[in-house]
Protein backbone atom coordinates (compact mmCIF):
# COMPACT_ATOMS: atom_id res chain seq x y z
CA UNK A 1 0.00 0.00 0.00
CA UNK A 2 2.82 2.37 0.97
CA UNK A 3 4.74 1.54 -2.21
CA UNK A 4 1.59 2.10 -4.30
CA UNK A 5 1.04 5.50 -2.69
CA UNK A 6 4.65 6.53 -3.28
CA UNK A 7 4.32 5.42 -6.88
CA UNK A 8 1.26 7.61 -7.41
CA UNK A 9 2.98 10.59 -5.76
CA UNK A 10 6.10 10.10 -7.87
CA UNK A 11 3.99 9.82 -11.01
CA UNK A 12 2.09 12.97 -10.02
CA UNK A 13 5.32 14.93 -9.53
CA UNK A 14 6.66 13.74 -12.87
CA UNK A 15 3.45 14.72 -14.63
CA UNK A 16 3.47 18.15 -13.01
CA UNK A 17 7.10 18.71 -14.03
CA UNK A 18 6.33 17.59 -17.54
CA UNK A 19 3.35 19.91 -17.68
CA UNK A 20 5.45 22.83 -16.48
CA UNK A 21 8.14 21.99 -19.03
CA UNK A 22 5.57 21.77 -21.78
CA UNK A 23 3.93 25.12 -20.82
CA UNK A 24 5.24 27.60 -23.47
CA UNK A 25 6.52 31.00 -22.19
CA UNK A 26 4.82 34.15 -23.43
CA UNK A 27 5.71 35.26 -26.92
CA UNK A 28 7.15 38.73 -27.56
CA UNK A 29 3.76 39.80 -28.88
CA UNK A 30 2.05 38.57 -25.72
CA UNK A 31 4.56 40.41 -23.52
CA UNK A 32 3.90 43.62 -25.39
CA UNK A 33 0.16 43.07 -25.14
CA UNK A 34 0.44 42.65 -21.36
CA UNK A 35 2.56 45.82 -21.11
CA UNK A 36 0.05 47.71 -23.21
CA UNK A 37 -2.78 46.24 -21.18
CA UNK A 38 -1.31 47.79 -18.07
CA UNK A 39 -1.12 51.19 -19.77
CA UNK A 40 -4.53 50.76 -21.38
CA UNK A 41 -6.18 51.76 -18.12
CA UNK A 42 -4.76 55.25 -18.46
CA UNK A 43 -7.02 57.42 -20.58
CA UNK A 44 -5.20 60.62 -19.79
CA UNK A 45 -2.73 61.99 -17.31
CA UNK A 46 -0.83 65.09 -16.44
CA UNK A 47 2.30 65.39 -14.33
CA UNK A 48 4.97 67.90 -13.39
CA UNK A 49 8.45 67.07 -14.61
CA UNK A 50 11.67 68.35 -13.16
CA UNK A 51 14.71 67.54 -15.21
CA UNK A 52 18.44 67.69 -14.77
CA UNK A 53 20.43 67.53 -17.99
CA UNK A 54 24.12 66.75 -18.11
CA UNK A 55 25.18 66.87 -21.74
CA UNK A 56 28.83 67.43 -22.69
CA UNK A 57 29.23 70.96 -23.97
CA UNK A 58 25.90 72.16 -22.64
CA UNK A 59 25.25 73.70 -19.24
CA UNK A 60 21.67 74.03 -18.20
CA UNK A 61 19.98 74.84 -14.92
CA UNK A 62 17.47 72.34 -13.51
CA UNK A 63 14.34 72.73 -15.61
CA UNK A 64 10.65 72.14 -15.00
CA UNK A 65 7.80 71.34 -17.35
CA UNK A 66 4.31 69.91 -17.29
CA UNK A 67 3.26 67.01 -19.46
CA UNK A 68 -0.27 66.24 -20.62
CA UNK A 69 -1.10 62.91 -22.23
CA UNK A 70 -4.34 61.75 -23.75
CA UNK A 71 -5.16 58.58 -25.57
CA UNK A 72 -4.25 57.45 -28.10
CA UNK A 73 -1.05 59.45 -28.50
CA UNK A 74 -1.65 63.11 -27.77
CA UNK A 75 1.18 64.68 -25.83
CA UNK A 76 1.55 68.30 -24.86
CA UNK A 77 4.43 69.64 -22.81
CA UNK A 78 4.62 73.17 -21.53
CA UNK A 79 7.11 75.06 -19.45
CA UNK A 80 7.14 78.50 -17.91
CA UNK A 81 10.80 78.78 -18.91
CA UNK A 82 12.86 76.72 -21.28
CA UNK A 83 13.16 72.97 -20.97
CA UNK A 84 14.93 70.31 -22.97
CA UNK A 85 13.54 66.82 -22.53
CA UNK A 86 14.85 63.59 -24.03
CA UNK A 87 12.59 62.88 -26.97
CA UNK A 88 12.19 59.11 -26.71
CA UNK A 89 11.91 59.00 -22.93
CA UNK A 90 9.51 61.82 -22.17
CA UNK A 91 7.02 60.78 -24.83
CA UNK A 92 7.26 57.12 -23.79
CA UNK A 93 4.04 55.36 -24.60
CA UNK A 94 4.01 51.54 -24.75
CA UNK A 95 0.95 51.69 -27.00
CA UNK A 96 3.33 52.82 -29.74
CA UNK A 97 4.99 49.40 -29.79
CA UNK A 98 2.34 47.86 -31.97
CA UNK A 99 2.73 45.00 -34.39
CA UNK A 100 2.00 47.16 -37.42
CA UNK A 101 5.15 49.15 -36.79
CA UNK A 102 7.54 46.68 -35.16
CA UNK A 103 8.68 43.09 -35.35
CA UNK A 104 9.14 41.83 -31.81
CA UNK A 105 11.40 39.00 -30.67
CA UNK A 106 12.03 37.61 -27.17
CA UNK A 107 15.73 37.63 -26.42
CA UNK A 108 16.17 35.97 -23.04
CA UNK A 109 16.31 37.67 -19.67
CA UNK A 110 18.14 40.51 -17.97
CA UNK A 111 18.16 41.68 -14.38
CA UNK A 112 17.30 45.35 -13.96
CA UNK A 113 17.56 46.83 -10.47
CA UNK A 114 17.29 43.34 -8.99
CA UNK A 115 14.24 42.39 -11.04
CA UNK A 116 14.56 39.55 -13.55
CA UNK A 117 13.08 40.91 -16.76
CA UNK A 118 12.09 39.52 -20.12
CA UNK A 119 13.99 41.08 -22.99
CA UNK A 120 11.97 42.03 -26.03
CA UNK A 121 13.73 43.25 -29.12
CA UNK A 122 11.81 45.57 -31.40
CA UNK A 123 12.76 46.16 -35.01
CA UNK A 124 10.95 48.80 -37.01
CA UNK A 125 9.24 47.47 -40.09
CA UNK A 126 9.71 50.73 -41.94
CA UNK A 127 12.64 53.11 -42.04
CA UNK A 128 10.24 56.02 -41.63
CA UNK A 129 9.68 55.05 -37.99
CA UNK A 130 11.80 57.23 -35.68
CA UNK A 131 12.72 54.40 -33.32
CA UNK A 132 14.47 51.91 -35.57
CA UNK A 133 15.58 49.45 -32.90
CA UNK A 134 14.77 49.10 -29.25
CA UNK A 135 15.32 46.55 -26.53
CA UNK A 136 12.74 46.46 -23.75
CA UNK A 137 13.30 44.79 -20.40
CA UNK A 138 9.86 43.93 -19.06
CA UNK A 139 9.10 43.03 -15.46
CA UNK A 140 6.90 39.91 -15.88
CA UNK A 141 5.28 40.40 -12.47
CA UNK A 142 3.89 43.87 -13.12
CA UNK A 143 4.24 44.00 -16.92
CA UNK A 144 6.15 47.24 -16.84
CA UNK A 145 9.10 48.26 -18.99
CA UNK A 146 11.96 48.81 -16.53
CA UNK A 147 14.64 49.48 -19.10
CA UNK A 148 14.62 50.52 -22.72
CA UNK A 149 17.62 50.71 -25.00
CA UNK A 150 16.81 52.85 -28.00
CA UNK A 151 18.52 53.26 -31.29
CA UNK A 152 16.70 55.96 -33.20
CA UNK A 153 17.15 56.67 -36.90
CA UNK A 154 18.44 60.13 -36.02
CA UNK A 155 20.20 61.10 -32.82
CA UNK A 156 22.13 59.19 -30.22
CA UNK A 157 21.25 55.80 -28.81
CA UNK A 158 20.19 55.74 -25.19
CA UNK A 159 19.67 53.52 -22.17
CA UNK A 160 16.52 54.50 -20.32
CA UNK A 161 15.72 53.23 -16.83
CA UNK A 162 12.15 53.63 -15.60
CA UNK A 163 10.99 53.80 -12.01
CA UNK A 164 7.24 53.72 -11.45
CA UNK A 165 4.78 55.13 -8.98
CA UNK A 166 1.53 53.36 -8.27
CA UNK A 167 -0.94 56.21 -8.70
CA UNK A 168 -4.34 56.05 -7.01
CA UNK A 169 -3.61 52.37 -6.28
CA UNK A 170 -4.54 51.65 -9.86
CA UNK A 171 -2.10 52.96 -12.43
CA UNK A 172 1.61 52.49 -12.89
CA UNK A 173 3.18 55.62 -14.35
CA UNK A 174 6.83 56.71 -14.43
CA UNK A 175 7.97 58.57 -11.33
CA UNK A 176 11.56 58.79 -12.50
CA UNK A 177 13.26 58.26 -15.82
CA UNK A 178 17.04 58.10 -15.91
CA UNK A 179 18.63 58.21 -19.28
CA UNK A 180 22.14 57.80 -20.56
CA UNK A 181 22.81 58.87 -24.11
CA UNK A 182 25.84 58.09 -26.13
CA UNK A 183 27.21 61.08 -27.99
CA UNK A 184 23.98 63.00 -28.31
CA UNK A 185 23.64 65.80 -30.85
CA UNK A 186 27.25 65.55 -31.98
CA UNK A 187 28.19 68.69 -30.08
CA UNK A 188 31.89 69.12 -29.81
CA UNK A 189 33.86 71.52 -27.75
CA UNK A 190 36.17 73.66 -29.81
CA UNK A 191 38.30 75.85 -27.59
CA UNK A 192 38.73 79.31 -28.94
CA UNK A 193 36.57 78.91 -32.00
CA UNK A 194 33.13 78.63 -30.51
CA UNK A 195 30.80 75.68 -30.70
CA UNK A 196 30.54 73.34 -33.62
CA UNK A 197 27.44 71.35 -34.22
CA UNK A 198 28.99 68.69 -36.38
CA UNK A 199 28.16 65.08 -36.91
CA UNK A 200 29.44 62.80 -34.16
CA UNK A 201 33.10 62.02 -34.48
CA UNK A 202 34.06 58.36 -34.77
CA UNK A 203 35.28 57.15 -31.42
CA UNK A 204 33.79 60.14 -29.64
CA UNK A 205 31.74 58.16 -27.14
CA UNK A 206 30.95 60.79 -24.58
CA UNK A 207 27.84 60.13 -22.59
CA UNK A 208 25.10 62.44 -21.57
CA UNK A 209 22.79 61.77 -18.71
CA UNK A 210 19.33 63.11 -18.15
CA UNK A 211 17.10 62.61 -15.17
CA UNK A 212 13.37 63.25 -15.24
CA UNK A 213 11.40 63.22 -12.02
CA UNK A 214 7.61 63.13 -12.32
CA UNK A 215 5.31 64.37 -9.60
CA UNK A 216 1.72 65.49 -9.09
CA UNK A 217 0.30 62.82 -11.37
CA UNK A 218 -3.37 63.29 -12.18
CA UNK A 219 -4.76 60.27 -13.97
CA UNK A 220 -8.05 59.93 -15.81
CA UNK A 221 -9.34 63.28 -14.57
CA UNK A 222 -10.14 64.41 -18.12
CA UNK A 223 -7.98 66.73 -20.20
CA UNK A 224 -9.70 68.92 -22.81
CA UNK A 225 -8.46 68.57 -26.39
CA UNK A 226 -7.81 72.32 -26.47
CA UNK A 227 -4.72 71.72 -24.32
CA UNK A 228 -3.14 69.82 -27.19
CA UNK A 229 -3.75 72.66 -29.60
CA UNK A 230 -1.75 75.15 -27.56
CA UNK A 231 1.33 76.67 -29.13
CA UNK A 232 3.93 74.66 -27.33
CA UNK A 233 5.48 71.28 -27.80
CA UNK A 234 2.56 69.16 -28.87
CA UNK A 235 2.97 65.83 -30.50
Amino acid sequence: MYKQCMGWIFAGVLLTLAAVQAQPGPTAGQVLKRVQGEFEKVRDYSADISTVVDVPGIKTPPMTAKIFFKKPDKVHIESSGFAMLPRDAVTYNPMAFNEDLFDAVLQGEETVNGVKCLKVKLLAKSDTVRLQRAMLCVDPARWLVLKMTTDPAQGGSADVIFTYAYIDNAYFLPSKISLQMINPTGFRESKGHGMKMDAPVAGDKRKASVSLVYSNHRVNKGIPDSIFKKDSKTK
Binding site: P56, G57, I58, K59, T60, P61, A65, I77, E78, S79, S80, G81, F82, A83, M84, L85, P86, R87, V90, T91, P152, Q154, G155, G156, A158, M181, P184, T185, G186, F187, E189, S190, K191, G192, G194, M195, M197, S232, K233
Partner: protein, 279 residues
Protein backbone atom coordinates in the same frame (compact mmCIF):
# COMPACT_ATOMS: atom_id res chain seq x y z
CA UNK B 1 38.69 120.35 -9.59
CA UNK B 2 34.97 119.56 -9.67
CA UNK B 3 34.27 122.93 -11.28
CA UNK B 4 36.85 122.21 -13.92
CA UNK B 5 35.32 118.79 -14.56
CA UNK B 6 31.88 120.37 -14.84
CA UNK B 7 33.17 122.90 -17.39
CA UNK B 8 34.92 120.18 -19.34
CA UNK B 9 31.76 118.05 -19.35
CA UNK B 10 29.76 121.07 -20.50
CA UNK B 11 32.20 121.53 -23.35
CA UNK B 12 32.03 117.86 -24.25
CA UNK B 13 28.26 117.57 -24.15
CA UNK B 14 27.72 120.80 -26.04
CA UNK B 15 29.47 119.40 -29.07
CA UNK B 16 27.26 117.77 -31.66
CA UNK B 17 29.93 115.11 -32.22
CA UNK B 18 29.34 113.80 -28.69
CA UNK B 19 25.80 112.82 -29.60
CA UNK B 20 26.71 110.88 -32.72
CA UNK B 21 27.31 107.80 -30.56
CA UNK B 22 24.12 108.22 -28.55
CA UNK B 23 22.11 108.94 -31.70
CA UNK B 24 23.49 105.93 -33.52
CA UNK B 25 22.71 103.62 -30.60
CA UNK B 26 19.24 105.17 -30.26
CA UNK B 27 18.55 104.34 -33.91
CA UNK B 28 20.42 101.05 -34.17
CA UNK B 29 19.06 99.24 -31.11
CA UNK B 30 15.32 99.73 -31.85
CA UNK B 31 16.02 98.92 -35.50
CA UNK B 32 17.82 95.71 -34.53
CA UNK B 33 14.96 94.80 -32.19
CA UNK B 34 12.42 95.40 -34.91
CA UNK B 35 14.41 93.07 -37.17
CA UNK B 36 14.73 90.49 -34.41
CA UNK B 37 11.01 90.59 -33.70
CA UNK B 38 10.52 89.39 -37.27
CA UNK B 39 13.01 86.55 -37.26
CA UNK B 40 14.79 86.40 -33.92
CA UNK B 41 12.85 83.39 -32.68
CA UNK B 42 14.20 81.37 -35.60
CA UNK B 43 17.69 82.49 -34.66
CA UNK B 44 17.27 81.28 -31.07
CA UNK B 45 15.79 78.00 -32.26
CA UNK B 46 18.53 77.63 -34.84
CA UNK B 47 21.13 77.71 -32.09
CA UNK B 48 19.57 74.60 -30.61
CA UNK B 49 18.83 72.86 -33.90
CA UNK B 50 21.53 70.26 -33.30
CA UNK B 51 19.74 69.22 -30.12
CA UNK B 52 16.39 68.57 -31.68
CA UNK B 53 17.19 65.04 -32.81
CA UNK B 54 17.49 63.93 -29.22
CA UNK B 55 15.55 66.49 -27.24
CA UNK B 56 12.16 68.09 -27.26
CA UNK B 57 12.75 71.78 -26.72
CA UNK B 58 9.90 73.34 -24.81
CA UNK B 59 9.42 77.06 -24.38
CA UNK B 60 11.37 79.80 -26.09
CA UNK B 61 14.81 81.21 -25.55
CA UNK B 62 13.89 84.31 -27.51
CA UNK B 63 13.35 87.07 -24.99
CA UNK B 64 14.68 90.43 -23.84
CA UNK B 65 17.85 88.94 -22.38
CA UNK B 66 18.60 87.11 -25.61
CA UNK B 67 18.22 90.18 -27.81
CA UNK B 68 20.29 92.28 -25.38
CA UNK B 69 22.98 89.61 -25.50
CA UNK B 70 22.88 89.66 -29.30
CA UNK B 71 23.20 93.44 -29.28
CA UNK B 72 26.25 93.21 -27.02
CA UNK B 73 27.81 90.70 -29.41
CA UNK B 74 26.97 92.75 -32.47
CA UNK B 75 28.08 96.14 -31.20
CA UNK B 76 31.28 94.77 -29.73
CA UNK B 77 33.35 96.16 -32.62
CA UNK B 78 31.25 99.26 -33.34
CA UNK B 79 31.12 100.85 -29.91
CA UNK B 80 34.88 101.60 -29.77
CA UNK B 81 34.38 103.71 -32.89
CA UNK B 82 31.72 105.76 -31.12
CA UNK B 83 34.02 106.17 -28.12
CA UNK B 84 36.99 107.42 -30.12
CA UNK B 85 34.83 110.02 -31.89
CA UNK B 86 34.85 112.02 -28.70
CA UNK B 87 37.96 110.73 -26.96
CA UNK B 88 40.08 111.43 -30.04
CA UNK B 89 38.91 115.03 -29.98
CA UNK B 90 39.74 115.72 -26.36
CA UNK B 91 43.17 117.34 -26.90
CA UNK B 92 43.31 117.66 -30.66
CA UNK B 93 39.98 119.49 -30.59
CA UNK B 94 41.51 122.23 -28.44
CA UNK B 95 44.35 122.55 -30.92
CA UNK B 96 41.96 122.66 -33.88
CA UNK B 97 39.80 125.24 -32.15
CA UNK B 98 42.87 127.34 -31.30
CA UNK B 99 42.00 127.32 -27.62
CA UNK B 100 44.98 125.34 -26.35
CA UNK B 101 47.21 128.27 -25.52
CA UNK B 102 44.41 130.19 -23.83
CA UNK B 103 43.55 127.11 -21.81
CA UNK B 104 47.12 126.51 -20.73
CA UNK B 105 47.74 130.10 -19.66
CA UNK B 106 45.06 129.66 -16.98
CA UNK B 107 46.18 128.93 -13.40
CA UNK B 108 45.45 125.16 -13.35
CA UNK B 109 48.55 123.13 -14.09
CA UNK B 110 48.86 121.01 -17.22
CA UNK B 111 48.57 117.85 -15.11
CA UNK B 112 45.34 119.12 -13.62
CA UNK B 113 43.94 120.03 -17.03
CA UNK B 114 44.97 116.63 -18.27
CA UNK B 115 43.25 114.94 -15.33
CA UNK B 116 40.07 116.91 -15.94
CA UNK B 117 40.02 116.01 -19.62
CA UNK B 118 40.78 112.37 -18.87
CA UNK B 119 38.01 112.17 -16.26
CA UNK B 120 35.46 113.82 -18.54
CA UNK B 121 36.44 111.42 -21.35
CA UNK B 122 35.98 108.46 -19.03
CA UNK B 123 32.63 109.84 -17.88
CA UNK B 124 31.56 110.21 -21.51
CA UNK B 125 32.65 106.61 -22.16
CA UNK B 126 30.73 105.33 -19.15
CA UNK B 127 27.66 107.32 -20.11
CA UNK B 128 27.69 105.87 -23.63
CA UNK B 129 28.03 102.28 -22.37
CA UNK B 130 25.36 102.95 -19.74
CA UNK B 131 23.07 104.35 -22.43
CA UNK B 132 23.65 101.27 -24.60
CA UNK B 133 22.99 98.96 -21.66
CA UNK B 134 19.89 100.78 -20.45
CA UNK B 135 18.42 101.05 -23.94
CA UNK B 136 19.18 97.51 -25.08
CA UNK B 137 18.14 95.78 -21.85
CA UNK B 138 15.26 98.14 -21.05
CA UNK B 139 13.78 98.03 -24.52
CA UNK B 140 14.51 94.32 -24.89
CA UNK B 141 12.81 93.34 -21.65
CA UNK B 142 9.93 95.73 -22.34
CA UNK B 143 9.24 94.35 -25.80
CA UNK B 144 10.26 90.70 -25.50
CA UNK B 145 9.97 90.04 -21.76
CA UNK B 146 12.40 88.03 -19.69
CA UNK B 147 13.24 84.33 -19.59
CA UNK B 148 16.16 81.95 -19.73
CA UNK B 149 19.25 83.04 -21.63
CA UNK B 150 21.27 80.95 -24.04
CA UNK B 151 24.92 81.84 -24.37
CA UNK B 152 27.77 80.44 -26.44
CA UNK B 153 31.10 80.08 -24.70
CA UNK B 154 34.39 78.41 -25.55
CA UNK B 155 33.26 75.43 -23.47
CA UNK B 156 29.95 75.09 -25.27
CA UNK B 157 26.41 76.26 -24.76
CA UNK B 158 25.23 77.58 -21.44
CA UNK B 159 21.61 78.21 -20.57
CA UNK B 160 20.96 80.40 -17.56
CA UNK B 161 17.75 80.56 -15.59
CA UNK B 162 15.94 83.91 -15.73
CA UNK B 163 16.96 84.78 -12.17
CA UNK B 164 20.60 84.03 -12.95
CA UNK B 165 20.81 86.59 -15.76
CA UNK B 166 20.48 90.20 -14.44
CA UNK B 167 23.69 90.19 -12.37
CA UNK B 168 25.57 88.77 -15.35
CA UNK B 169 24.43 91.67 -17.53
CA UNK B 170 25.33 94.17 -14.82
CA UNK B 171 28.86 92.80 -14.52
CA UNK B 172 29.13 92.35 -18.29
CA UNK B 173 28.39 96.04 -18.84
CA UNK B 174 30.88 96.97 -16.14
CA UNK B 175 33.46 94.83 -17.93
CA UNK B 176 32.53 96.34 -21.29
CA UNK B 177 32.80 99.86 -19.81
CA UNK B 178 36.25 99.08 -18.45
CA UNK B 179 37.39 97.81 -21.87
CA UNK B 180 35.96 100.91 -23.55
CA UNK B 181 37.90 103.09 -21.11
CA UNK B 182 41.06 101.51 -22.49
CA UNK B 183 39.97 102.38 -26.03
CA UNK B 184 39.24 105.92 -24.85
CA UNK B 185 42.69 106.17 -23.25
CA UNK B 186 44.30 105.04 -26.53
CA UNK B 187 42.37 107.74 -28.40
CA UNK B 188 43.49 110.28 -25.78
CA UNK B 189 47.09 109.20 -26.31
CA UNK B 190 46.82 109.71 -30.06
CA UNK B 191 44.93 112.94 -29.50
CA UNK B 192 47.73 114.32 -27.36
CA UNK B 193 50.17 114.02 -30.29
CA UNK B 194 48.31 115.89 -33.00
CA UNK B 195 46.33 118.99 -33.72
CA UNK B 196 43.50 117.50 -35.72
CA UNK B 197 40.95 115.06 -34.29
CA UNK B 198 40.57 113.05 -37.50
CA UNK B 199 43.97 111.41 -37.03
CA UNK B 200 43.35 110.10 -33.48
CA UNK B 201 39.87 108.91 -34.39
CA UNK B 202 40.96 106.97 -37.46
CA UNK B 203 44.25 105.93 -35.84
CA UNK B 204 42.59 104.52 -32.72
CA UNK B 205 40.00 102.65 -34.71
CA UNK B 206 42.67 101.33 -37.06
CA UNK B 207 44.65 100.02 -34.09
CA UNK B 208 41.55 98.37 -32.60
CA UNK B 209 40.66 96.70 -35.92
CA UNK B 210 44.28 95.69 -36.61
CA UNK B 211 44.69 94.18 -33.15
CA UNK B 212 41.37 92.36 -33.42
CA UNK B 213 42.44 90.85 -36.74
CA UNK B 214 45.92 89.92 -35.49
CA UNK B 215 44.43 88.43 -32.36
CA UNK B 216 42.21 86.15 -34.40
CA UNK B 217 44.79 84.85 -36.85
CA UNK B 218 45.33 81.18 -36.02
CA UNK B 219 49.10 81.12 -36.54
CA UNK B 220 51.66 80.51 -33.81
CA UNK B 221 53.32 83.89 -34.23
CA UNK B 222 50.06 85.77 -33.79
CA UNK B 223 48.84 83.45 -31.06
CA UNK B 224 52.01 84.25 -29.09
CA UNK B 225 51.29 87.93 -29.65
CA UNK B 226 47.75 87.81 -28.21
CA UNK B 227 48.61 88.49 -24.54
CA UNK B 228 50.25 91.77 -25.57
CA UNK B 229 47.25 93.09 -27.46
CA UNK B 230 44.70 94.95 -25.36
CA UNK B 231 41.95 93.81 -27.72
CA UNK B 232 42.47 90.26 -26.40
CA UNK B 233 40.88 91.37 -23.15
CA UNK B 234 38.16 93.54 -24.64
CA UNK B 235 35.69 90.66 -24.49
CA UNK B 236 35.98 90.62 -20.71
CA UNK B 237 32.21 91.11 -20.60
CA UNK B 238 31.70 87.79 -22.34
CA UNK B 239 33.31 85.96 -19.41
CA UNK B 240 30.26 86.81 -17.30
CA UNK B 241 28.20 84.51 -19.50
CA UNK B 242 30.27 81.42 -18.76
CA UNK B 243 29.11 78.80 -16.30
CA UNK B 244 30.74 78.96 -13.88
CA UNK B 245 32.34 82.37 -14.20
CA UNK B 246 36.10 81.99 -13.93
CA UNK B 247 36.74 84.84 -11.52
CA UNK B 248 40.52 84.36 -11.67
CA UNK B 249 40.49 84.97 -15.41
CA UNK B 250 38.09 87.89 -14.98
CA UNK B 251 40.38 89.48 -12.38
CA UNK B 252 43.46 88.86 -14.54
CA UNK B 253 41.90 90.32 -17.67
CA UNK B 254 40.55 93.32 -15.76
CA UNK B 255 44.06 93.85 -14.37
CA UNK B 256 45.63 93.58 -17.86
CA UNK B 257 43.15 96.14 -19.14
CA UNK B 258 44.15 98.30 -16.19
CA UNK B 259 47.79 98.05 -17.22
CA UNK B 260 46.97 99.11 -20.78
CA UNK B 261 44.80 101.93 -19.47
CA UNK B 262 47.63 103.14 -17.25
CA UNK B 263 50.14 102.89 -20.10
CA UNK B 264 47.99 104.80 -22.60
CA UNK B 265 46.82 107.42 -20.11
CA UNK B 266 50.32 107.79 -18.68
CA UNK B 267 51.69 108.16 -22.20
CA UNK B 268 49.06 110.79 -23.02
CA UNK B 269 49.89 112.65 -19.81
CA UNK B 270 53.63 112.52 -20.57
CA UNK B 271 53.08 113.90 -24.07
CA UNK B 272 50.56 116.52 -22.98
CA UNK B 273 52.61 117.91 -20.10
CA UNK B 274 55.75 118.17 -22.26
CA UNK B 275 54.09 119.31 -25.43
CA UNK B 276 55.23 122.52 -27.06
CA UNK B 277 51.88 124.13 -27.76
CA UNK B 278 52.05 126.43 -30.75
CA UNK B 279 48.40 126.73 -31.71
Amino acid sequence: MLTLIRFELLKTYRKLRTYIGFGLIAVLVPLAYWGMSLGGDDLAKGMMRGMQKDFLLVGSLFNGWFVSFMIMNTLFVQVPFLIVLTAGDVFAGEATGGTFRILLTRPPSRSRIFAVKAISTILYTLSLVLFLGALSIGLGVLIFGTGDLISFTDAGIAIFGASDVPWRFLLAYLGAAWAMCVVASLAMLFSSFVENAIGPIIGSMAVVILFLILGNLPFDFFIAMRPYLFTTYMDLWRKMFADPVDWTVVAQEAAYLGIFFTLFTGGAWAVFTRKDVLS
